[in-house]
Amino acid sequence: MIDEQFIRNLESIVGKSHVSLTSTGVELYSYDASLVKGNPGVVVFPADTREVSQTVKAANRAGIDFLPRGFGTNLSGGTISVTEGLVICMSRFNKILKIRPDSRYAVVQPGVTNLEVQNALAGVGAFYAPDPASQKVATLGGNAGENSGGPLCLKYGVTSNHILGMEVVMADGEILRIGGAALDPPGFDLRGLMVGSEGGFAIITELTLRTLPKTESVITMLAVYDDIQSAARSVSEIISAGIVPNTLEMMDATVIEAVEANAPCGYPTDAAAVLIIEVEGMIVGLDKQAARIRKICMNTRCRDIKTAKNQEERDRLWQGRRGAFGAIARLAPNYLVNDACVPRTHLPKALEQVKNIAHQYGCRVGNVFHAGDGNLHPLLLFDSRNPEELEQVHKAGWDIMTACVELGGTISGEHGIGREKQAAMHMIFSGDDLNTQQAVKSVFDPENTLNPNKVIPLPESPGRSLPPGKPTVLKRPGGASAKGVSEAISTIKAAAASGKTIRAVGADHFGYFGNWCKGPVTPLSTLAMKEIIEYDPANQFITVGAGMSLAELQTVLGKKNQWLPIRPPYYKAGSTIGALAAMGVSGPERMIYGAPRDLAMGLQYIDGMGRVISTGGKVVKNVAGYDMTRLMIGSNGSLGVITEVTWRICTRPELCRAASGTGALNDCFNAALKLMNANLFPAFITAGPKGDSHGPFENQWEVIVGFEGLAMVVEHQVDQCRNLLGESGLTPGEPLDYDLIDGCFRNDFDMLALAPYTLKAASETEKMLDVINGIKSMATPTGWFLDVGCGRVFVALDALKPEVWASITQNIISFDGHAQLEKSPESFRREKDIYGDVTGTERGVMHKIKKALDPGALFAPGRLPKIKAANA
């Protein structure tokens, strides 16, 4: 209860002037940018992590609900207290702590706005890719909480793809660090799970962002259409041509009219739709890309397309898009922005439905949206002072979500579920799916005090589970009816009944991975699950069974000139999709394409009760519910058996070509670092000892830098890169064309794999040499492979003493990195933790999740990093 004692406690923690309790204070924090309202009991403004922690502990002691809030621009009611609880306002967390363009990361406090960090990064030639339209005012804490998108995410992905780590205050007040500058720490992907958790898992107090070097040049075009269908077709065809514009923004006739009436910026008022298309990148080739886009547009019945000749014209074109909300806003006192998503080829149908629905409820509607990723933003106009209008607009919003889900989409692309779309979660998730998500929430927040009663629909009575029923609207093909799944379910149920443990096995290529565990493990073969469940080349996704091999998948995709852009190390012919998803591994091209965590859009798995649980969906932008997909990817099968995965796929690049240079290790490394923040966009930057040298370790190394994409752009970049390598004191080698699927390094990894031990260490890029020197001083590696682009070192060892392993991991941790043994003999695995001897609450949380989702400890024993307590 909020009583005087509690207020006094708060005042003693944050200071009297940072507690707001008055009736005006309550009114001021009773709203955000959504239509949800709710009075807070009290509002506090902590100054630092310690104060947040103490505040949370005080709230726990007093039994008071609490939630974090930034600048309150949330569009789904996520920052409103619906239980008259404590609002913890993070507006004083407004500092940028660190910017490291060469290692491609920045550390910020959550109250910094997106634009502030963009401005700071611009000063060092870098940028942070997610750019929500609200970037001027939306804080990064909120961006992370909601997994924000923005126009640029068509090219670069959403917030989740760009958060490397964070510091959080847990619901019990404990402070926890998750991830960091080093990529992909072992164990569950907690940072992936945390992003998009809408303030319901923990309170973010610091964020490590992935940054990228700024591009060289930009071309902005305006395409005009007489019908929306043609505009949507242009969008699909541009993308399938392998061109990835950084934005494809569409506006319909209503918006065009409003914009032109308000501040004319040259949109023809008789058009049915306009499309703003922007490509950016190297100056070379950009004109040709633009020309190709023009051709595609004209072939898809574009009336006219014009290119901005200078910055002024460019600003003018954008002015219309940026002012679109405003122009519409002036037509009525209020507007509701819906943000449902559909696979992009269904946009015309979705827009037609939006029009009908708006008509049905008598709302005026304007459409301005991210056409490239099928994310609609119908603006429904109304007057919030009129309760009837408010009700109509809510109904219209509901029907639009229904229509989009029927088209295979989702209920929210970037604004979140919060309070506003809670009930709509039933449209896309089964009761079991939702109960599983709730179980994860309960791991983080067992007392349900942190931003309670949001996201997951409320059960009939508190504490009860939701009935298991199927999603009310979405039809998910595959699932229990897919080939091999029902057999797997029987096996799992039988194992559970007889107290056995289960490990999913595909081609059984990675049996040497993980910690040793006693007792018999029943292998569960996934090889029967090799169906293509759904393949939509135009919308660039494919859903395949876990038992299909990656090689076969690439062959299937190759027929449509597509591929899954990943070349996992140590992969052999026959290694499966299931292993890829479960292990979450990636090769050096992770630098540009991302890891499985970035490419998987949804999946299904069988849990310990034999239920098929679905996560995610099949659209790129999808923030509906907690990010269970990322929890499952890389969980090494320890939460369930993955049966199918939906992947985001790409058009095959025209050309894959690598530049190389040889020289001393230091020079190689410095050249690689220079490339990290140069105006070039390599697919990978690697280095390794040069083949047959017998000289000292440091003297003969080779840097290999790959470029993939449109031929003309690749050729230009390879030239530039060779110059840069030469300027850095290296001897440039001849450019090398390599195979798209196999890449450059299959042999290198095969060589490493011959050793009994293979180690993978990741750190901040700039600290890689320290990591290398550390390993070298403690052990005697027989092979090295540096994945500089991703800050990773792959090492082969003939021998490794258990006590040395502990010092190696400790040393790497001292450089904010982490290490694991991807391969080691059973004798070693009996004794030591191959995920590195580390303590820390991060792992404790992983084990709690494991316990909640796999209470019978049925799945994949030994595949989760140990916690020290368990060791003892």
Binding site: S23, G72, G111, S134, G326, A329, R330, N334, D383
Partner: protein
């Protein structure tokens, strides 16, 4: 005043929060009470009966700088600064007005002579360190409890007002035809007199006659404070002064006065008779910057290069839409390198008497301005509002910067920035 009449305008706020990015107060406090969205929400709360009039509203209603930056960033273009003034007016009626305000707005500002006397007394007190005397007079005291700390904002008060030295009346100029009225704002009259002399010289270059008007305060302080009756009284008094003689136009070197004079009709909103009277009596009003720009006055060439940057007074950039003229003028002067300052159009935190009543907030806003100024390494910071000059000069002293603050008129005559 009844803010219920503004219900439509207040409800136009969709709570998107975009005002936060531009609000200097919010950037300093991070508190929802210090930004348009919050202030509008409170007024809506009052109208819809969730909130009662009371002292709690003083902060949210009165800590607005009135700079208008929120409106410039608002999709619906909600005129928050104007709505706040109306909120203040009702606040004064509902919650109360301090007697000291009465003295200022009713007893001093309408009467240039009395104001001069008061200023003189304050000057005596201040310059001799007798700050208590200032308190006794009440001129500055009026503006709030932060006065004791705010006192250093004004470095030195001249003992005599501008119009104590240049008597109101007609002066001959070098021009052929134009009859110009020079409106002397309180800031020029009492404090920034050096700028006033240069402005007058410039006007004389162009005008056949220049009349130093015996105007009273333009009324903006009273209006901003929510004292609409006082503002109306002042507006009427001034319009009478203007109508007494036929002018081609009136020029003032205070952008705040210029902005307000141009909007006198809004002071009489809902009062048709008042509006007609104003319309029939008001000559064309020009900001000094507009005058300099349209008359194409040449400034003397600088022998040694000097770097100049510019601060946009709120009442120039948003109040009157003046943002390019001043820069064009400065860029055209040989020997001057114009260097743009980040966030040049952000409020300096002076906002008339704001610094005197909200010292900490005002200083937080000023600090941001000074950081931006320092980043330009400019020799001179020019502007066109005497109130901004006071605040900016204080900021420069506070931060120990070498930059000199001056009025654009002083640059044009070559008196400064050489």
């Amino acid at each position: 005043m009844d803010i219920r009449e503004e219900y439509d305008a207040i409800s136009q706020c969709n709570k998107c929060g975009f005002c936060q990015v531009a609000c200097p107060v919010f950037r300093s406090t991070g508190h929802e009470s210090g930004v348009a969205r919050g202030r509008l929400a409170l007024m809506r709360g009052i109208i819809e009966g969730r909130i009662q009039w009371g002292r709690e509203l003083e902060g949210p209603l009165f800590n607005c700088l009135g700079c208008g930056a929120c409106t410039a960033n608002c999709f619906g273009a909600v005129p928050t600064a104007d709505l706040i003034v109306k909120g203040r007016a009702e606040y004064l009626e509902q919650v109360g007005r301090k007697p000291i305000h009465k003295l200022l707005f009713d007893g001093l500002l309408p009467y240039p002579h009395r104001l001069h006397m008061a200023a003189r007394a304050v000057a005596l007190g201040k310059n001799s360190g007798l700050s208590r005397m200032a308190g006794a007079i009440g001129l500055l005291r009026v503006l709030g409890r932060d006065l004791a700390r705010a006192e250093n904002i004004i470095e030195k008060l001249p003992a005599k007002p501008f119009r104590g030295k240049v008597k109101p009346g007609e002066y001959n100029g070098k021009g052929a035809s134009l009859n110009i009225g020079y409106f002397v704002g309180c800031g020029i009259d009492i404090i920034q007199q050096e700028a006033g002399y240069e402005s007058l010289n410039l006007l004389k270059k162009i005008g056949k006659t220049v009349t130093v008007l015996n105007n009273c305060c333009c009324g903006l302080p009273a209006w901003n404070y929510g004292d609409m009756d006082a503002a109306r009284k002042l507006a009427l008094k001034n319009s009478d002064t203007f109508a007494a003689r036929s002018f081609d136009f009136i020029v003032t070197d205070c952008s705040s006065c210029a902005g307000f004079l141009k909007q006198y009709d809004k002071v009489f909103e809902g009062d048709a008779a008042g509006q007609n009277r104003i319309k029939s009596r008001m000559p064309k009003v020009l900001d000094m910057v507009e005058f300099l720009f349209t008359q194409k006055i040449n400034a003397p060439k600088r022998r040694t290069p000097v770097v100049v940057t510019y601060h946009d007074p709120c009442h120039a950039v948003r109040g009157q839409g003046i943002s390019t003229e001043n820069r064009e003028i400065l860029k055209s002067i040989p020997g001057i390198e114009f260097r743009e300052m980040p966030e040049a159009d952000w409020c300096c935190g002076g906002a008339g008497s704001y610094a005197l009543s909200h010292f900490d907030l005002s200083m937080a806003v000023l600090d941001r301005k000074m950081e931006n100024l320092a980043s330009t390494k400019a020799d001179v910071l020019a502007t066109s509002c005497p109130a901004c000059m006071i605040q900016l000069s204080h900021g420069v002293r506070r931060k120990g910067l070498k930059t000199r603050v001056c009025h654009i008129s002083e640059i044009m005559t070559g008196a400064k920035a050489h």
